[in-house]
């Protein structure tokens, strides 16, 4: 290609597109040049001076983040000069950076720790007192530890360039420089400020929610998908079988490096303790715990006895696999329409500097999946109401995943057979003849389809409580008995037999951890 430039980095010849920075070019040979102020999603002020590299012929070391490669350049990122510079800069950072790692939330995932450990001096030379700023509440979820700040200004640039709401600035100059908010305004009322905690390379900006909750090295990271129809790629950080926090996962096609505050804080529901832990039989009064085999056989026998049409409620928080299995079951019982309810906010809240990302109006991860499968949205924007003709239905009532919190305890009281499949009980489940425990997205595998028709996978981060099983497994087994579909043992197989045109030919391997756009985007906006 005409627009490629050939350079030599640390003895490796690489060919990169014209305009590539030295830092990005070095990544192509697997070399991560240490840096603080540079972030691929924002402008580069070239002020941390950590990424200085030696370019043959240049009079001074050049900042790798803003120096674009030129044909024939010979660049050294690990030469004596480059290493000496990094060693020097790292020592300068430690002149004022407190060594409070034992009580710092960033400890274990801190760039300064890593860099100093890898390339810094073995022994510090600073005996002078360090300057002290103390702490500041920036509002929202952000707490600022001024002493730890390395003045990379990523947070200031995020607010001004990406969120485009100038809430932060640098005040004073020299080593008295400190990040500050404007008057008492703070970050309150902004929708994306959690990202400044992620991009802070040290422990200067920390999450109030996560403060002193867990050490970084104790957390297990599991890739997952967020809970709005944007389908942001996230990572569930878990410990003690609880989700401790949510961090964004880089995916340039969906959310880049960012995640909204609303989604970031929406994890407590995965940690709820009041879960249904075993299949329950209430058809003969009381509540009898059954084994899974027994439970499924009992339900099959009950379906043979029960007459009347089928009415079904699904949930847009259920995976594509769950919804497909549910649909097969409904079909096996003689068909009937499936409705779902989902919450909505007033309007999309886009991230101005990256407008393809927004807090979507549709606050459920799989409304597109439900729509593709012909399910119909009912109820209002708070995900309540809309079930009047189902509540008093005298045939078969099936519920998947919707806890029916707004419904009275008479829900399904007239039904010949009422099967509730979900995670939590509520007043409206008291009349259920059978209650089956299923897993949340954090406890099993599956896929969601986001607003633009991108199907994305999530993985299992937590152990399910008690006997809870994925809905696709349980409902798929029932449907197979009724002659619809076959018995499958994995989420991948479950996806393969869904029989929905939009997903035809796509496999879990195709989706990977980046997602893939489905064949035919059938966007039904619902009610």
């Amino acid at each position: 290609m005409a627009d490629m430039v050939n350079v030599t980095i640390d003895g490796n010849e690489v060919s990169v597109p014209k305009g590539t920075t030295v830092l990005e070019a070095a990544k192509t040979i697997g070399t991560e040049v240490p840096h603080y102020c540079y972030h691929p999603g924002m402008s580069s002020p070239a002020m941390c001076r950590l990424c200085l590299v030696e370019v043959e012929g240049a009079p001074k070391p050049m900042p790798g983040c803003v120096t674009t490669v030129m044909e024939g350049q010979v660049i050294h990122t690990q030469s004596d000069q480059a290493l000496k510079n990094r060693r020097g800069v790292l020592e300068f950072y430690l002149v004022n950076h407190p060594l409070d790692c034992p009580i710092c939330d960033m400890s274990g995932e801190c760039n300064l720790q890593d860099y100093v450990h890898a390339e810094g001096r073995e022994q510090g030379r600073g005996i002078e007192p360090k300057r002290v700023f103390g702490r500041d509440d920036f509002g929202g979820d952000v707490l600022f530890y001024g002493d730890r700040c390395v003045m990379c200004t990523r947070c200031v640039r995020f607010m001004s360039e990406v969120e485009q709401d100038h809430r932060l600035t640098v005040v004073e100059r020299g080593n008295r420089s400190v990040i500050d908010t404007f008057f008492e305004e703070g970050l309150e009322g902004t929708h994306w400020h959690g990202n400044i905690v992620d991009i802070c390379p040290v422990g200067a900006l920390v999450s109030k929610d996560f403060l002193h909750k867990a050490r970084a090295w104790d957390l297990a990271h599991t890739p997952s998908i967020c809970d709005c129809s944007q389908g942001c790629n996230i990572s569930l950080h878990t410990r003690d079988n609880l989700v401790q926090r949510i961090k964004p996962r880089e995916n340039l096609d969906v959310n880049a490096w960012w995640l909204s505050d609303l989604c970031r804080m929406d994890y407590e529901w995965m940690n709820r303790g009041d879960r249904i832990e075993a299949p329950l039989d209430r058809s003969k009064g009381g509540s009898k715990v059954l084994g899974w085999k027994e439970a499924l056989e009992s339900i099959l026998r009950a379906t043979e006895r029960s007459e009347g049409s089928v009415k079904a409620v699904a949930s847009a928080r259920a995976s594509n696999e769950d919804l497909a299995a549910f649909k097969r079951l409904v079909k096996g019982l003689g068909g009937g329409e499936i409705v779902y309810r989902s919450p909505r906010i007033e309007k999309d809240i886009p991230l101005k500097g990256f407008p393809q990302l927004a807090v979507r109006r549709d606050r459920a991860p799989n409304t597109t999946g439900a729509n593709i499968m012909g399910m119909i949205r009912v109820g209002d924007d708070s995900a309540t109401g809309g079930l009047e003709d189902i509540a008093g239905h005298d045939g078969i009532v099936l519920v998947l995943g919707d806890a029916l919190e707004d419904q009275p305890n008479t829900f399904g009281a007239n039904a010949k057979l009422y099967v509730y499949v979900g995670q939590h009980e509520s007043a409206a489940t008291t009349s259920a003849h059978f209650v089956l425990p299923t897993t949340t997205k954090a406890e099993g595998e599956g896929t969601f389809t986001n607003y633009e028709g991108r199907v994305q996978r999530f993985w299992r981060a937590l152990d399910p409580p008690g006997m809870a099983r994925p809905a696709w497994l349980v409902l798929g087994a029932l449907a197979a008995e009724l002659g619809c579909g076959e018995v499958v043992r994995s989420a991948a197989d479950s996806f393969a037999i869904m029989g929905v045109d939009a997903f035809a030919g796509i496999t879990y391997a195709d989706i990977g951890d980046r997602g893939t756009v489905i064949n035919e985007i059938v966007l039904v906006t619902g009610v």
Binding site: M47, P59, F92, E128, N175, S177
Partner: protein
């Protein structure tokens, strides 16, 4: 005797009217041949003006000594964008006080220089960024600009030539770093006064994102005389490589401190002994900082063989800078002097680059400790090594300015440091 002190050695071109308040008036200035150079420049055309300045060999008087004509020729020819001329009057280098005097005594000389410079680079607007603390100079300059507008020497259709050049005086807010050219541009635009990463250079992307040239007050003032009298006339002063006259701001322990306009290449020792009347109280010379606080300090022996031009200063391992000669006699505490200067830089560091932000204040802390008798010899090694990390590793050269006096003083006056360090040991032993 006139304006504080004058000397027979002086060649008074720019400073001819220092001490004469009437010269501030536009009437007097025009009577004495003022604004003739503008007319002449308009007749010559921009290319010819640049050639004339190139021919004169005039070098930037702000400190770097870059040839002015060459700098002007870097401006794009057909960019289609507005060009700007910026005049750097944010004179903040400790020891420097020439620009202030040039503005105070001869504001129209500067305005005329700005008009010529703007015309040469195709700028329709010239900004004079004047240091915030220069209250008197600011008001004199503002008055002079008003007068120039009134008399048709600035603004639209200057002197009926069809050339439009606006002049704006912008008052800074008191930050040393805003005297750095790109820091000045940021400040002028209303941003934080922080130097920008180069490239892009100002000639491509300068003030307001447009091609800009930035010149020192003294440079632009000299341009007026070069256009008036020709480049060859200017070359009769000074040396081959450093032609022309230069204002020397002499301060410190001399009997007659002040501004002296001398041809470049003037011997330093002659400046101290003859022009400035020798060292106070007949003391011996200990050290000189020949170019403002950011250049390496030199000792008496080096001073005796130093000629004050760009090359002569380099020969003895220092720089001419903006020719602010700080003279120190043998009663001077060099450590305290250096600590005082480093304190200044630590206070004025903009705080962008880590080596400067952290290094300058750390250096100041260590020096203070040594000054108070709690230093060790190891501290000197630390200082030498650490300041080496501050040279050439930052966006601008402020951190180099910290390193220069520290390194040179430790090299040349190590005994001064050691005596302070040893005092501590004696106290401990007793």
């Amino acid at each position: 005797m006139a304006y504080p002190y004058v000397s027979d050695h002086e060649v008074r071109v720019l400073s001819k009217h220092f001490g004469d308040p009437s010269h501030r008036r536009i009437g007097t200035y025009v009577e004495r041949g003022g604004y003739g150079a503008v007319k002449k420049a308009f007749e010559m055309g921009p290319a010819q003006v640049i050639d004339e300045v190139k021919g004169s060999g005039l070098r930037g008087r702000g400190g770097a000594g870059f040839p002015t004509g060459v700098k002007w020729s870097f401006m794009p020819k057909d960019s289609g964008k507005p060009h700007y001329l910026l005049c750097n009057a944010d004179e903040s280098e400790p020891g420097t006080f020439k620009d202030r005097e040039l503005i105070r005594w001869n504001p129209h000389q500067l305005i005329e220089g700005c008009l010529i410079g703007a015309y040469a680079i195709g700028a329709k607007h010239a900004y004079i960024y004047c240091r915030g603390e220069f209250f008197e100079a600011n008001s004199i300059l503002a008055r002079a600009v008003e007068d120039a507008y009134e008399q048709g020497y600035a603004g639209k259709d200057i002197l009926g030539s069809g050339n439009d050049i606006e002049i704006t005086v912008h008052q800074g807010a008191g930050a040393y770093i805003c005297g750095e050219e790109t820091g000045l541009m940021n400040s002028l635009e209303g941003r934080r006064g922080q130097p920008r990463v180069k490239p892009p250079f100002p000639a491509a992307v300068g003030a307001f994102g447009m091609p800009s040239t930035i010149n020192n007050v003294e440079t632009l003032a000299a341009v007026k005389h070069i256009v008036d009298n020709g480049g060859d006339w200017y070359r009769q002063f000074g040396t081959e490589k450093s032609p022309g006259t230069k204002l020397f701001c002499v301060s410190g322990h001399v009997n007659k401190p002040g501004n002296y306009e001398l041809p470049l290449g003037f011997p330093l020792i002659k400046l101290i002994e003859e022009v400035c009347g020798g060292i106070r109280d007949g003391n011996a010379l200990k050290a000189v900082i020949p170019g403002g606080s950011s250049v390496p300090i030199i000792n008496a022996e080096e001073s005796s063989r130093c000629n004050l031009d760009y090359e002569g200063c380099e020969e003895v391992g220092t720089m001419l800078g903006c020719a602010s000669v700080i003279v120190m006699d043998d009663k001077t505490d060099i450590v305290k002097q250096v600590r005082r200067m480093v304190d200044f830089y630590a206070h004025e560091s903009c705080g962008q680059c880590t080596p400067c932000r952290e290094g300058s204040s750390w250096t100041a802390q260590i020096l203070k400790r040594i000054e108070y008798g709690r230093g060790t010899e190891e501290d000197l090694n630390t200082l030498m090594e650490m300041t080496q990390q501050m040279v050439g590793t930052t966006i601008c050269v402020l951190s180099d300015s910290v390193a220069a006096p520290v390194q040179s003083s430790i090299e040349k006056f190590r005994e001064d440091y050691l005596s302070l360090i040893r005092r501590d040991e004696k106290v401990g032993a007793a």
